[in-house]
């Protein structure tokens, strides 16, 4: 007779005011496979921890987003925000789905070009663009979004030098009723900086003002703020049209849409409460359609949302290293997943589920990563089933920012696997090796030997 699955013995006090087991079953539902591929198989083949990205979810998410906007507004273009996840395979999926590239550094710009993106379909944002970067962007006829006056003057000088007329937009910051106001990027709307920059561009023969751009915040939970922002940009565009008889070709609403993650400090889970693409699309489209644009002059609407398009497609698989008890009797569980690869653990209560079946007994657990650093906490408190050493867990909604903000700290970064539309896994980024890391270092001759 085969033996039963072992679960460690557990006893917990029933306290008044404490939720009983029906109260906190939240994270019990095990996730045993991703897009049909067993989690155990993935980890056996590709190691632990392991990032897994679902191509199916990426494609269905971008299609849902496009549909939400296109059913409400006639001209819509998405641009993939490279900084959110710039693994080449991920960018290519978005480009296959028709997204342009939105980059914020020379490095990201070069990445887009090397992937084969047409220079005309690259939007170049951000406060730091070197002369070299700007020269490339001007020669490729990319869309340059100006962040400050110094950049405006540099572009003007370069354009004159190359006898070119680059297509530019300005980034506008504004009060949308949401705080804090992101006023460090771009030109302010309320105090007239933006209008001033527009006038400088319009009076220069070396630049063509094609668009207006804003990016009002991150993980925004209020679609109405986008409505306010879109109205203000529409007003600016109409002022330009009136004063210079010049039509603004596009309005770029940036990104910042919240994903389904739950922010620390939120009471209800983000998957229940966070706005949908339809909510954001409704706010933005109504604001633009209700402004005074003539129907045939409606500008192209560009969206650079990153997080909301990729977060749900990413999973991080890991294993239990040990269970301990703290001095106060609290259960601690150590995973092989640290904050060095799960940066977002600092601001989300990531959903964590076991990767195998369990009974409905649970324990409140503090989940630590493997780093020898006090800050390495994945969840301060999670109600999880009785995990044993070597059991597997799945951390959800990790597709955004983790594979760009991760760091090689204490441990090496793991494999990233993409599961394609047919359920076939592909390694899209190899795990790092000691040789990889050492190959970038140079040791002066006098430090090459030591006797201890």
């Amino acid at each position: 007779m085969s033996k039963q699955r072992y679960e460690r013995p557990v006893i917990k006090k029933l306290e008044t005011g404490m939720p009983n087991k029906f109260g906190t079953r939240t994270e019990y539902q095990p996730m045993t496979n991703i897009d049909g591929v067993p989690v155990t198989k993935l980890m056996k083949e590709y190691g632990s921890p392991l990032f897994v990205i679902s191509e199916k979810i990426i494609r269905s998410t971008i299609q849902k987003a496009k549909k939400a906007f296109r059913t409400r507004y006639p001209r819509v273009q998405f641009a993939w925000s490279y900084k959110t996840n710039y693994l080449n395979s991920i960018c290519s999926i978005f480009h296959q789905e028709g997204s342009w590239a939105e980059v914020v550094s020379g490095f990201e710009y070069d990445k887009a070009i090397s992937l084969g993106v047409d220079g005309k379909k690259i939007i170049f944002n951000g406060p730091e663009k070197s002369e070299e970067d700007l020269t490339k962007a001007i020669k490729n006829d990319s869309l340059i979004h100006i962040d400050h006056l110094d950049e405006l003057y540099t572009i003007s000088e370069l354009a004159e030098k190359f006898k070119a007329r680059p297509r530019v937009a300005i980034r506008v910051n504004m009060d949308t009723g949401v705080y804090p106001i992101w006023d460090r990027f771009g030109f302010n709307y309320e105090n007239g900086q933006a209008w001033d920059a527009i006038n400088k561009i319009m009076h220069s023969e070396w630049m063509e003002l094609v668009g207006l751009h804003c990016h009002i915040g991150t993980f925004m939970l209020a679609p109405s703020a986008y409505g306010v922002a879109a109205s203000k940009l529409a007003e600016l565009a109409l002022s330009v049209e009136q004063k210079f008889k010049h039509k603004i070709k596009y309005i770029d609403m940036g990104g910042g849409f919240a994903s389904k993650n739950t922010l620390k400090g939120a009471y209800l889970p983000g998957s229940d409460t966070n706005p949908t693409f339809d909510d954001f699309a409704e706010a933005i489209s109504s604001a633009l359609l209700n402004s005074n644009f003539k129907h045939e002059n409606l500008p192209l609407l560009i969206l650079e949302t990153g997080r909301a398009l990729i977060d749900e497609a990413g999973y991080l698989l890991g294993s239990v290293i040990s269970n301990k008890r703290s001095s106060t009797g609290r259960r601690n569980t150590i995973l092989d997943i640290g904050v060095n690869i799960l940066f977002t653990a600092f601001w989300y209560d990531h959903k964590i589920t076991p990767a195998q079946e369990f009974t409905n007994y649970s324990e409140d657990t503090c989940i630590y990563g493997p780093l020898c650093m006090n800050i390495d906490v994945i969840r301060e408190s999670a109600s999880l089933p009785l995990l044993n050493k070597n059991d597997h867990v799945v951390i959800h909604h990790v597709g955004a920012y983790n594979m760009t903000q991760w760091m090689q700290f204490i441990a090496l970064r793991p494999n990233v696997v993409l599961i394609d539309m047919d359920g076939k896994p592909h390694v899209i980024r190899l795990r790092e090796t000691v040789d990889n890391m050492n190959s970038m270092e140079k040791v002066p001759a006098h430090l090459k030997k030591f006797n201890m």
């Binding site: 008044t16 087991k21 029906f22 906190t24 079953r25 939240t26 009471y267």
Partner: protein, 348 residues
């Protein structure tokens, strides 16, 4: 004509010193003239007194906390529905309304009716949006400000004078007399109910409440104002008296007319020494003192159920003025086996 028997599920069985409305709602339903009831309690914790009141509650099921997410709640309700064939659910907690509103359509297809505010109404009346709400509907509200982090606390004295009220998104309110107290309440409240925390101007005066029912078209179906006579240290009325104040009824009718409120509600009002009326808060559900409304002639829970079932109802126009409620506590004797049943199996 034979009265129909409705299976009605009710939450908020925590008839404790800061009581949920469930038990009062059930008493009202038991006295309904238009139907008989089988009452299903829905509980979150094993010591909610209503679970053990077998003359009022026929059977109780544990349900997951709102923090567990809508999917789990729905799953649990499907299980309960299989066993109990519910006709109506009356949710009684602010924090659970969001998931129940989101589930309204799904539950309807399972044959479960509710009569809740729309998501838009629910969001709009949120304390966080009270300033805008007052402006939009021409109702006087105290000045308030929403804060997300402690660093903004220091600028408060330039906008508000002490004392000021520190409020949680769903529950809890404390009066702060210094910045230090604001900070300490901010931390306590945000740890329990999340962000943001609301800072509100303190209005000196007398507190009144109005409970009532809107039919979703702007009509006033019921409205009963009450003055709190004794307030516990948790700020709850332990005794109150029905009053006749046209100004309060006017404000209530205006609120219903302008918002087209759907469902039960409680308005928290403050009357200052000049007789000016401020709307402090709109609770999107029936209050714990709802049985007073029944006692003065308006069985609001009964009418709410009839509205949920899609019947046309006649608005109440009268109630007895000067009737009081005096709350009392009552020690029930409970077998440990019953506590075990609800704790271990989630059903009793």
């Amino acid at each position: 004509m034979k009265k129909p028997t409705l299976n009605i599920a009710v939450t908020g069985l925590n008839a404790i010193d800061s009581p949920g409305p469930g038990v009062s709602v059930i008493r009202a339903l038991r006295e309904a003239a238009s139907f008989n009831t089988r009452i299903i309690g829905l509980s979150y914790e094993s010591l909610e007194p209503g679970i053990y009141m077998h003359d009022l509650v026929d059977r109780t099921y544990s349900i997951p906390y709102p923090t567990a997410g809508i999917d789990l709640l729905f799953e649990r309700l499907q299980y309960i529905q299989e066993k109990e064939k519910l006709d109506v659910i009356i949710p009684n907690f602010d924090a659970e309304l969001y998931p129940f509103i989101k589930l309204e359509h799904n539950l309807k297809t399972m044959g479960i009716h509710m009569f809740l505010p729309t998501l838009h109404q629910f969001e709009e009346r949120n304390k966080v949006n009270l300033n805008d709400f007052g402006k939009k509907y021409g109702i006087k509200v105290p000045k308030s400000k929403v804060i997300y982090d402690l660093s903004t606390v220091h600028s408060l004295p330039s906008e508000f004078s002490f004392p000021m009220i520190v409020k949680g998104k769903f529950y809890d309110a404390s009066i702060a007399y210094s910045i230090e107290q604001v900070k300490s309440y901010f931390n306590k409240i945000s740890a329990k109910w999340g962000l943001p925390v609301i800072i509100q101007e303190f209005i000196h005066g007398t507190e009144f409440n109005v409970t009532g029912l809107g039919d979703g078209t702007g009509k006033t179906i019921a409205a009963v104002p009450m003055r709190k006579q004794y307030i516990t240290d948790k700020g709850k009325a332990w005794g109150g008296i029905s009053i006749s104040d046209e100004k309060m009824l006017d404000m209530t009718r205006k609120f219903l007319r302008n918002t087209k409120w759907r469902g039960g509600f409680e308005l928290e009002l403050m009357k200052n020494k000049d007789g000016e009326l401020y709307l402090l808060e709109i609770n999107p559900r029936l209050p714990a003192w709802i049985y007073l409304a029944v006692g003065v002639g308006q069985n609001i829970p009964e009418v709410l159920v009839n509205l949920a079932m899609g019947h046309t109802v006649k608005p109440f126009t009268e109630y007895a003025v000067g009737k009081m409620f005096v709350r009392y506590s009552w020690d029930m004797i409970v077998d440990r086996e019953e506590f075990e049943q609800i704790s271990m199996y989630g059903e009793l």
